[in-house]
Every structure is written in structure tokens, then in C-alpha cells.
């Protein structure tokens, strides 16, 4: 794990609106999903606000609730390099 990046056990300031943590869905458990962060920490995350959710997807979570999905796209830095 790289230092400084948000994980489930180190997210900076959760009250700050922008402490979002990317996690990968491991399995579904009703309205929740078991998710794993970049450090291997696992937690139950409420996923009602981002349904439908599939195992393997990367979600952005905040305060135990998924608020978005991280797109599975390659980032394009060609603009930066020009």
C-alpha cells in the first residue's frame, strides 16, 4: 500500500466531505457488500445508493456508505503530455 492514500483504517478526516475510499466488492450481503480496500482491510458497506452492484466493481465509500463507482477506464494523460 502506498502511504497517504485513503484506506478503511486510515482515511484522514471522515468529517471532511472529501475523504472518499476506493474499495473493491468481494461479495454481496443483502443491502450491504463486503468490500476490500487497497490494504486488504475488509468492511461491510451499504450499497443502496449505487445499485446495481457487481462483485469486482470498485466503489467510492464514505462513512460506511458507497456514494459512487470508480469507472473502469484507463486514465488519459495524453492531454498532460502534450
Amino acid at each position: 500500500m502506498l502511504p497517504g492514500y485513503c484506506t478503511l483504517d486510515h482515511d484522514g478526516c471522515v468529517t471532511c466531505s472529501d475523504a472518499g475510499i476506493p474499495v473493491r466488492v468481494v461479495s454481496m450481503e443483502g443491502d450491504d457488500a463486503l468490500c476490500e480496500d487497497t490494504a486488504g482491510n475488509r468492511a461491510r458497506i451499504a450499497v443502496e445508493l449505487v445499485v446495481p452492484v457487481r462483485v469486482g466493481e470498485v466503489l467510492l465509500t464514505h462513512g460506511g456508505v458507497a456514494i459512487g463507482k470508480v469507472a473502469a477506464q484507463e486514465e488519459d494523460f495524453s492531454e498532460v503530455r502534450r
Binding site: C13, E48, H62, G64, I67, G68, V80
Partner: protein, 375 residues
């Protein structure tokens, strides 16, 4: 790791910094505000400021909910927490925010049942496990955090949990930015928009910046390259004479936001007519309270909180720092009477607060500052 490594590539960072330098007008001073405390943190942790030309000044915005919370709201939370029947729950950073009579940690040491939670859903679980007690959650945060409170209340209502209530201090990001743009103190050229707030609200709410104030805005991610690229995008807009809302953080932020989260918030919350912000005063329609459908869960109604106003300590200059008028180290008590260990102002409490970021990561910056310039 994917989504991390590629945003910390030193070679790319140098290329972007060179790009910024190449279009910087040496005779112009650029003031760019990063609205979000998380961005402030990244800027100082990764030394981004040192990669930028001297002409480009980054100004810290009001995007830390703990920092903008007026002291009266802390005192009211403490009053609820002191009730013997109450289990008071809140996020960790909230525990150390000073009220006029101390902070929640000190009240806890005196015997109040105050518990730190990671999620409002944890507070709801505590309510389920303690049906004979009243469980209150101190809700705070911008639109990133508000959906988790909304979802928790929807679950509480669905399950018929009656011993749970929320002391709501959620705030919204657009009204304070508009207030800053209206402020005569500040001349800003462009804005770095908050990435994760925008995951929920999308990019459309920022269009007023370009439409009404001719200011470019780029919604940005939180890795070092995200921020550098966003600054480059803003500089290109300024160079071209464009004023647009652009989305640098497309891998996470949909232009329309998260409609499911917005729907959940619309059901649970409504806008307050006005709300007090530390340093910015009262701002119309800038905060959320529970809607009538959720009035049974409203701690303000359950405990008849009086709505007290408490002035900040006189030595504290959080207000000027929040507005970007002063840099954190220019505050007269920075690093002396006010430190992360013993904070006077909220900006030093929160790890995302501008003063804490300066204190923890900004040593190199201080070397450039004449100590005598402190006011």
C-alpha cells in the same frame, strides 16, 4: 496499485509543472482557490506548491465542515451528550473541536457516554443494541457525508427504531462559494472544485461560477497529478480567456452526480433558511435539516436545542483563514497558542483543516516567510 500509481508518477508531475510554467504570465498574479480541505492536505503533503511558479498562489477554501462549524453548535451537541439517558455518537475529529466549555473528549472523561463511530450506520446499530437508551448521532459534513446520514435515517424509519435521532449539521458547498465570490476581501481567478462532493452533486451546480462570475472551475481528484492537471486546465482556461466548468475527475465524478443519493437526500432533508458559518457569518440556504417526514428523528426537536451563538476566541483568526484573506501561518496564534495538540480554532483540529495541514507539512513554506510578517 491501479488508480494510485499512475497519479504519482514523478516524470509526469514534472511535465505538468513545466506545462503550467510555460503558460504562466510572469507579470500576472494568479489566485486559485482549492475549495476542499482534502485538496489542501494533498497540496502540502506532496509539496505541490513548490512545483508551481511563484505567480500561482493557492488559496485555501472553506471546505472542511469541522472547521466552519460555529462554536454554538458544538456547545449544543455537548449539552445533549451530557444527558444521562443519551449515548452520544460522532465522528472522531468532532471529539476534539473546542466548544466554549471544552470538547466532547473532555465531557466524555467527566462521565458522559460519548462514542466515536466511523459511520452513522454504526450509531444506528448502537441504538438497536441499546433499546433502553437514547442514541444521538452528531451529523456533520458536506454533500459527501449527507447521503450516509440520509440512508441511515431511511433504514431507521423502515425498521421503526424510535430511540435514535440525529443532530443535523450538514452543510452545502455552493452557497459559501457564492458568498466568497461576493466578498470584497478576495480577488480569486479560478476554483479547484471538490471531487467527492461532486460525486454526489455532479458538476452542474458549479456552472454559476462561470455564468455569473466569469470564473473557471475544474472539479479535481485527490492524487498529486490530479491536482497538478487541474491547475494546468485552469491555467489554460485563463490563458484562452475561457470560463467553463471542467471535470478532471471523470473516473469518479459523473457530470449529473449520483441521482440515487440525491433522491435519498431530498426525502430526508430540507434546506435551512440560513445557517451560521465560522468566519463567513450567516449564509442563506447553506445547510440541511431533517424534513417534516423525519421530524421524529430530529434531535433539535427532541431536545429543544436553543440555537445559541457563541463568539470565537478573540485571538483566533480562523475566519480570515477560512476566507483565504490570511494564510494559516499569518494567524497570530499559529503554532504557539494554537497547535494540533492543543487547538484553539477548528482549523487546527481537523486533519483536513488548513492550519493542521500547514503545521504538519508546511515547514518548508515557512522558511520563505519572514517571521516578522506575522500579525
Amino acid at each position: 496499485m491501479k488508480y494510485v500509481d499512475e497519479f504519482r508518477d514523478g516524470e509526469l508531475a514534472r511535465a505538468v509543472a513545466a506545462g503550467i510554467a510555460s503558460i504562466t504570465d510572469p507579470d500576472r498574479h494568479y489566485k486559485i482557490m482549492e475549495v476542499c480541505g482534502g485538496h489542501t492536505h494533498t497540496i502540502y503533503r506532496h509539496g505541490i506548491k513548490d512545483l508551481l511558479p511563484d505567480q500561482v498562489e493557492l488559496v485555501h477554501g472553506p471546505g472542511c465542515p469541522v472547521c466552519v462549524l460555529p462554536m454554538g453548535r458544538v456547545d449544543e451537541g455537548i449539552e445533549i451528550a451530557e444527558r444521562p439517558e443519551v449515548i452520544f455518537t460522532c465522528f472522531g475529529d468532532m471529539m476534539r473541536v473546542p466548544g466554549s466549555r471544552g470538547n466532547l473528549l473532555e465531557i466524555k472523561a467527566e462521565g458522559a457516554d460519548i462514542r466515536m463511530v466511523y459511520s452513522p450506520l454504526d450509531a444506528l446499530r448502537i441504538a438497536r443494541e441499546n433499546p433502553e437508551r437514547e442514541v444521538v448521532f452528531y451529523a456533520i459534513g458536506f454533500e459527501t457525508t449527507a447521503p450516509s446520514t440520509a440512508l441511515t435515517l431511511q433504514r431507521a424509519k423502515k425498521e421503526g427504531i424510535e430511540n435514535f435521532s440525529v443532530f443535523c449539521n450538514h452543510v452545502t458547498i455552493v452557497p459559501p462559494v457564492r458568498a466568497l465570490l461576493d466578498s470584497p476581501d478576495l480577488r480569486l481567478d479560478a476554483f479547484i472544485g471538490p471531487g467527492h462532493v461532486s460525486t454526489v452533486i455532479g458538476c452542474r451546480p458549479y456552472e454559476f461560477m462561470s455564468a455569473d462570475y466569469d470564473k473557471p472551475c475544474v472539479v479535481a481528484g485527490f492524487e498529486p497529478l490530479d491536482l497538478l492537471q487541474s491547475i494546468l486546465m485552469l491555467m489554460r482556461q485563463l490563458e484562452d480567456g475561457r470560463c467553463e466548468v471542467e471535470n478532471q475527475y471523470g473516473r469518479v465524478v459523473p457530470w449529473e452526480g449520483n441521482l440515487q443519493a440525491l433522491k435519498s437526500m431530498a426525502e430526508v432533508f430540507e434546506l435551512r433558511p440560513y445557517f451560521e458559518w465560522r468566519g463567513l457569518g450567516f449564509i442563506a440556504q447553506s445547510a440541511l435539516k431533517l424534513s417534516p417526514a423525519y421530524a421524529d428523528f430530529d434531535a433539535e426537536l427532541r431536545y429543544s436545542t436553543p440555537g445559541v451563538r457563541v463568539a470565537d476566541p478573540k485571538a483566533c483568526q480562523c475566519g480570515e483563514v477560512l476566507k483565504g484573506v490570511l494564510k494559516p501561518h499569518e494567524c497570530r496564534v499559529f503554532g504557539t497558542a494554537c497547535t494540533p495538540e492543543r487547538p484553539l480554532g477548528a482549523l487546527m483540529v481537523s486533519s483536513e483543516g488548513a492550519c493542521a495541514a500547514y503545521y504538519n507539512f508546511g515547514r518548508k513554506s515557512f522558511e520563505k516567510v519572514e517571521i516578522g510578517s506575522r500579525k
